[in-house]
């Protein structure tokens, strides 16, 4: 039951993009076409799940055990960068088609603050291993959902007559503001 709660909470109620403002750069940068947005979302979900699976043992069995939790930022960022690199190499070997589809999005994920944020929140909330993996996956799903919705809206906006100063990033953020309001409606799903 707790796992379902974590899933719903991380993907809808506390959506990383719309309530914690993590991962805004790809959210604004790659949301102009639905297809790109979907690929970015899937790649990010994949990396987030793996990040949760990899950083939890690093934190619990290495940093805590040797009493150096203050090194967590350095350790996490290195782990994430290495992970993205490994995933990229593996996909290039095993599935060139997928590799072409993901293209430049994979390396960009290293600097997606949502991935590091995920590792930090995981530690902050004392999740166990299974919960962490679910949390990582759910966060990725939430990110995909948000970026996909945004790209759908932006494709329609191509035909709208937007005042000049508002074009581009400005209008995207204002739409995001309305999406954040809409997502607040999910807060009723879980008490407390």
């Amino acid at each position: 039951m707790k796992l379902i709660m974590i899933f719903i909470s991380a993907s809808l109620i506390n959506n990383f993009v719309l309530t914690y403002f993590l991962g805004i750069c790809p959210f604004v940068g790659v949301s102009n076409k639905t297809e790109n947005a979907l690929n970015m979302g899937l790649a990010t979900t994949f990396v987030m799940t793996l990040t949760a699976a990899a950083t939890w043992p690093i934190y619990t069995y290495i940093l805590v055990k040797f009493n150096v939790p203050f090194l967590e930022y350095v350790a996490f960022i290195i782990a994430i960068a290495a992970l993205v690199q490994l995933v990229e190499m593996y996909i290039r070997k095993s599935s060139p088609a997928l590799y072409r589809a993901l293209g430049i999005y994979l390396p960009l994920i290293t600097t997606n603050c949502a991935v590091l944020g995920l590792a930090l929140f995981m530690v902050l909330r004392d999740y166990n291993y299974i919960e962490s993996i679910i949390f990582g996956f759910a966060t990725g799903v939430g990110f995909t959902l948000a970026i996909l919705m945004m790209s759908g809206i932006r494709e329609e906006l191509e035909f709208a007559d937007i005042p000049k100063p508002f074009q581009g990033i400005s209008i995207t953020l204002i739409i995001a503001s309305m999406m954040a309001l809409a997502f607040m409606g999910f807060a009723g799903l879980i008490r407390g």
């Binding site: 719309l18 309530t19 914690y20 403002f21 993590l22 991962g23 805004i24 750069c25 604004v28 203050f70 090194l71 967590e72 930022y73 350095v74 960022i77 290195i78 960068a81 600097t111 997606n112 603050c113 590091l116 944020g117 930090l120 929140f121 902050l124 005042p163 000049k164 100063p165 508002f166 990033i169 400005s170 209008i171 995207t172 953020l173 204002i174 995001a176 503001s177 309305m178 954040a180 309001l181 607040m184």
Partner: protein, 208 residues
């Protein structure tokens, strides 16, 4: 100011460009996460801006100093480690000296590591320039960023609580706009400020 081609002028220029021409996050759209997340009050915005300024200054100095010794293939990894260490220092300093602020900023202090402004300046400026211009660049961009965060913070605090720096500015007649404190308000204010900056610069360009 074409006649002022001396050294002082170019240093001043590196400093000044961060304050308007390249002001983050409005002109360089980098570092958006902290801009949105911690600007529900002026105090948090300024604290975040200064923490970022410190890390940016440190990373620009170190990266500019080691720029000839780092192999280009591993530079990003090396920069990230340098930045992560500086952020650890900033985080521990805040936690020791200003516990309430550290608590309010929460995980957003460690997230300075992935603030694209810092890596962006390292890539775009510090790795190609000597130490002194890199310091000026860091100070300019850092102060510009702090100013932007303070602006965002004051708009949201004024409309959301009717106060600035916890001083009640608007009287009891004022009904706070709760939405300004919520995430939605952050996106709204940020989007509108970008539009305002665009508008002012397009007016300037027309006037010139």
């Amino acid at each position: 100011m074409a006649e002022n081609n001396g050294n002082t002028y170019s240093l001043w220029h590196e400093f000044k460009k961060g304050l308007w021409q390249d002001i983050p996050p409005f002109r360089l759209v980098l570092g958006t996460c902290p801009t949105l997340a911690v600007t529900n009050s002026v105090k948090n915005g300024i604290a975040m801006g200064l923490a970022t300024l410190f890390v940016l200054l440190g990373s620009n100095i170190i990266i500019s100093a080691v720029r000839k010794y780092v192999a280009p293939q591993v530079r990003i990894a090396a920069y990230v480690v340098i930045i992560a260490l500086l952020v650890t220092v900033a985080d521990m300093f805040l936690a020791a000296k200003f516990p309430p602020i550290s608590k309010a900023l929460g995980p957003y202090v460690p997230l300075i590591v992935v603030n694209c402004i810092i890596l962006g300046r390292a890539e775009a400026f510090a790795q190609k320039n000597p130490i002194i211009p890199s310091i000026m660049d860091a100070l300019g961009i850092g102060l510009g960023f702090t100013m932007s965060l303070a602006t965002m913070g004051s708009i949201r605090e004024l409309l959301g609580f009717g106060s600035i720096l916890q001083f009640k500015v608007l009287g009891s007649w004022f009904e706070p706009w709760i939405v300004m404190i919520l995430p939605a308000g952050a996106f709204l204010v940020f989007g509108s400020l970008i539009a305002l900056v665009n508008y002012i610069s397009s007016r300037k360009a027309e006037g010139a």
